[in-house]
Amino acid sequence: MSTLLKVVDLKKYFPVRGGMFHRVVAHVKAVDGVSFELEKGRTLGLVGESGCGKSTLGRAVLRLHEPTSGQIILNGDDLMTLNREALTAHRRQMQIIFQDPYASLSPRRTVAQTIQEPLDVHKIGTPREREKKVEELLDVVGLRKQVLSRYPHEFSGGQRQRIGIARSLALNPNFIVADEPVSALDVSVQSQVLNLIARLQREHGISFLFISHDLAVIQHVSDDVGVMYLGRLVELASADDLYRKPRHPYTKALMSAIPVPDPKKKSKRIILGGDVPSPMNPPPGCPFHTRCPDAMPRCKEAVPPRINVGSEDQPHFVDCHLFADESAT
């Protein structure tokens, strides 16, 4: 397996301005040094509670939010070093599926115009070929040809999400950021869209960065899972491994919140005290130490290193001092 996307120490700080003359008084550290790799044709799920920086990470990877620092290496090219034109050319490879299907389609454009736009922008094919491509894409996402001349407001949420997916597929990308693509949909429609995404991945070999706060959805679609807390990736492992044996205290707390469909089985819930600290002023050391049930004095001082508690070919990374002695040999 070859690596498609490699993100190294990505940071996105939003400046907070205030006082006289609009000075920068602080930064919201939405993404604070995230590194991961994504292989071809695989899905990396990102979970975390709201405000932890999942969506910002997804958009920073696409340079929709200009990252503060770090490297984004897609197919060997560092996106951060590209100028405008080169970036536009690279945009053909990477796309995004948005959370809110009501906001992601321009209300004044027909379905045909919306899906065809990527082809128009990159001047692909003749007008006739573009029309044909649009019809193919509709077929791929399971919509009828009759919808072409209609407007977004005439569709349900699930149908709109399909239109959005068709648009992101138009350029045959090999990497798609799916930013909570099903959170705004009904549960019955969620599974349809998830199956569609799974099928696309099988048939086209697209890599997904799948962002969600829904642990069940993440488990269903992901090959690997990353857990985010306060702008950092605290645990990164294969989905099976992570769900079977979560290591980081935060991941354990998250997992204990998954409802178990068995009334007799009493699962032990780990209730976290306190609130998420402000990303404007994150605690020193491990960002989780203020709420961690296993916090040690060391956690307040040193940022935990990334430790591989799995094997060489089945890595399981944890950013936690608890496993400092356990690192794989």
């Binding site: 536009t88 945009r91 009501y102 321009s106 648009r167």
Partner: protein, 357 residues
């Protein structure tokens, strides 16, 4: 071209609001008619039949009396067609003159018994609303004044919206220093008193400038000091639309900035701008009338409602018909436009037709 079904629905709703719709039809009819005012209210006839030959002098050059067999004093001066009509009628040899509905132009001073003075409405002499203090036909002046006012306010609206929308959209889209700079410039600019500027400019420009030039200068000054209000609205709208997912989606696709602005942001912001237009037209008509009333508006002898109002108030007791006609005409025009504005606002009510869910 196929309309967006939402737009089609808004238009249908506008047609259902009868008061606004009929006002719209009436105003459009009046405006179109006023473009052909020369055929309706003029001292030149529509058709002359002389010696079996037809002439249509409305838009032609000045004709002299000799052309129509007039001798004596009338031979080498421009033809008085009303007089010609009378002569042809008396001669009764098949020649005839068809005059427009009101056979006076808005500039000529018609005298009664050799004295130029204001006369009341007179059907026989075809001064249907009477004449003003210098003997000019009031109906003619009102109609030509209406034409000037409506064309002026349409030009004014188009220009202010063009500048306001373009700048406001740029401020909202580019943000940052550009936005900050222009906000401050606009704040300073919009605090310059516009009336003083008009007075100063018109006391400086030489009287030799032709009337169309002077009207253009007035238009430019008014536009220069009025475009700012539109930027506030467009700026915030653009800020909002720019952050919506569909605009982001266009950026991910690699769409260029002009493409995002013209294909995505403008179509989604501009539909609400439409509701402001009638009220801007009302404001423009009121402004130009007020300026005329004060004597700083359209240069004389351009016919205008404000100028008639001024004459009317000065001669309230001796010639009440002047102020009555001017007042009724002004109220009528403003009411029509306001009705249209209300109907458009109602038809475009975002609560009824939200484009998001």
């Amino acid at each position: 071209m196929r309309l967006n079904p939402l737009t089609a629905r808004k238009l249908r709703r506008f047609r259902e609001i009868k008061r606004g719709y009929y006002s719209f039809i009436l105003l459009v009819t009046l405006t179109v008619l006023s473009l052909f005012a020369e055929l309706l209210i003029n001292d030149k006839p529509l058709i002359i039949s002389y010696d079996g030959q037809l002439t249509f002098p409305t838009y032609s050059a000045v004709r002299l009396g000799v052309d129509f067999g007039l001798g004596g004093d009338a031979a080498n001066v421009p033809v008085d067609y009303r007089d010609l009509q009378r002569r042809f009628r008396e001669a009764d040899n098949g020649d005839f003159v068809v005059m427009p509905l009101v056979p006076y132009n808005p500039y000529e001073n018609s005298e009664v018994d050799g004295i130029i003075r204001s006369t009341g409405p007179n059907m026989e002499r075809q001064h249907y609303l009477g004449t003003d203090t210098t003997g000019r036909d009031i109906l003619a002046r009102l109609f030509y004044g209406f034409r000037t006012a409506i064309l002026f306010s349409i030009a004014f609206t188009v220009l202010t919206y063009l500048i306001g929308i373009a700048l406001g959209c740029m401020m909202g889209y580019f943000g940052g220093i550009f936005d900050l700079l222009f906000q401050r410039i606009i704040e300073i600019w919009s605090n310059i008193p516009f009336l003083y500027m008009v007075i100063i400019v018109f006391s400086v420009i030489p009287a030799t400038f032709s009337i169309p030039t002077r009207i253009t200068i007035l238009l430019v000054i008014m536009v220069l000091f009025s475009w700012t209000f539109m930027t506030y609205y467009m700026r915030t709208e653009t800020y909002r639309e720019k952050a919506r997912d569909y605009a982001l989606a266009a950026r991910v696709l690699g769409a260029s900035t002009p493409r995002i602005i013209f294909r995505h942001i403008l179509p989604n912001t501009i539909s609400t701008v439409v509701t402001f237009i009638p009220f801007t037209v009302v404001a423009a008509i009121t402004a130009i009338t007020a300026l005329d009333f004060l004597g700083w508006g359209l240069p004389p002898p351009t016919p205008s409602i404000g100028e008639l109002l001024k004459q009317g108030t000065a001669n309230l007791t001796t010639a009440p018909w002047i102020v009555t006609s001017a007042f009724v005409a002004l109220v009528l025009i403003l009411t029509l436009v306001t009705f249209i504005g209300e109907a458009i606002r109602e038809a475009f009510d975002p609560k009824k037709f939200t484009i998001y869910r």
